[in-house]
Symmetry: C2
Subunit: 255 residues, 2 copies
DNA sequence: ACAAAAGTGTTGGAGGTACACCCATGT
DNA sequence: ACATGGGTGTACCTCCAACACTTTTGT
């Protein structure tokens, strides 16, 4: 019996992003519902002191009311000619200047009072960014990375959203191959295990991890090995083609 | 390795409901994105000939353009003072005049061209309705129940949405106790098994089903038994309190 | 040679499927 | 008495956690 995946019922703020261009802190027409798209971005980065890889999330500082000065999820209003995922990707590009290796819709948050004056419905996505790139990601006064375990108080209901995204990431890691999104073209099983350990926050048995992964057919071994270690050189693997299928390819075609 | 739960990328219509009050078939302001909420409603009802319980979905006939005359999911525009789930519940009440025992957000559909002229983002919910009530549900010229396995061609991308909802229902049935939502206060294990069989579309071993359910602690036995059968009277069960927990109660508290 | 991580083998427990069998009631 | 589903027992199989053990490199 696994946990239910009912998302939170929040009673807090909205998702007007820091980079919004108009200066009003409220909606002119109170009968209108406005639509925004935000993205929870995950990447693995080394923890400053220990150098150990952990989960990080970039946040943007709000430069307008409401919640001016607080950190918030990157996002913005949905463009009329823009798909939802495109908008999420744009939020990601604007803050981190990176391209996600994985992007999925998380949930639509829309309680009436989540923003103080506006009525905003936020469609939230979550994204995974390759570790190598994430290290070189832009950081500034208004954009900063935080460890997923120690997120400050955020604007609106964004703390709740981040928690939910974290839960989804951890849950989904166990039954899909999204972990590959954190890694490059080829990787060792130790590196893949490191990703799992960082996300789940616990150590895994190398022997059993190997067998579990091998049995899942999510990776294919290459001929090359990683040299330069001061021990036996580990084999490099690539991500398997695309055994990842949505619900439709399942019962859509012949069984 | 279970299937990934990436929803479809549709390239079709929107979700303007049949009961919408304005008569325009398009949006006045082309730069505005409008927001609608629809609901996929599930109930178990006996199949006409065989009497065997199967999955049914109520649909409404579109009485306006676009897609006038086609069947579509019940839904409507989101009210400014209305939570998303409320709007979904309203759609359900208006069509079936019933209260859902279970209601959960499915997905937000928002590709640019899903509606011919408008730009509509639909936040779709799915709901379960008690079988007993569903039998007495209202049906009219513009509201009709269809078997989940034989849905006609629907307006917009609603066929895709229904397929996705079906997939979610079947998947979630296996690791939660949502099956209870189809049943009344008390029920026999045979009835619960009948629900599972109807949703999954295959027979289950009564002996093993019993043990699986008992081990899951999702039901509690009562003292009463069901009489009037022409065999040994089966024990009645109730749904367990609330071992159903969202992601937050999980890692929100101490581990 | 030795440290260190890669990689293999082995065992025991948990859980799930198949199926034989007994139990209690209405007719 | 007997048909019918309720309910129990059990053997087997697969998957997974734990951990001992062997292999291959750099120093």
């Amino acid at each position: 019996m696994t946990p239910a995946s009912q998302p939170p019922r929040t009673r807090e703020g909205s998702v007007l992003e820091a980079s919004r261009s108009d200066d009003r802190g409220y909606q002119s027409d109170p009968t209108t519902v406005s639509l925004a798209v935000s993205t929870v971005i995950f990447a693995l980065r080394p923890r400053p002191k220990t150098g150990l890889m952990t989960l990080w999330i970039p946040l943007v500082r709000r430069i307008r009311q409401p919640h001016k000065g607080l950190w918030a999820l990157p996002g913005g209003p949905l463009g009329a000619e823009e798909d939802l995922a495109e908008a999420a990707r744009r939020a990601l590009r604007d803050t981190t200047a990176l391209t996600p290796k994985y992007l999925e819709q998380l949930y639509a948050f829309g309680t009436v009072d989540r923003s103080p004056r506006d009525r905003v419905v936020s469609i939230v996505y979550w994204a995974l960014v390759e570790s190598a790139e994430a290290s070189a990601a832009s950081e500034s006064d208004n954009v900063q990375w935080f460890e997923a375990d120690s997120i400050p108080t955020l604007a609106f209901d964004h703390n709740t959203i981040v928690e939910y995204a974290l839960w989804r990431l951890r849950t989904k890691l166990e039954y899909t191959r999204i972990a590959h999104a954190f890694l490059g073209e080829t990787f060792t099983l130790a590196q893949l295990r490191e990703v799992h350990e960082a996300v789940l926050g616990k150590e895994l048995d190398p022997a059993n991890f190997r067998r579990t992964i091998e049995a899942s057919n999510t990776v294919v071994p290459t001929e090359s090995r990683l040299a330069g270690t001061r021990h036996r050189p580990p084999r490099l693997y690539r991500s398997a083609e695309k055994p990842d299928r949505g619900p439709f390819t399942h019962h859509g075609g012949p069984h």
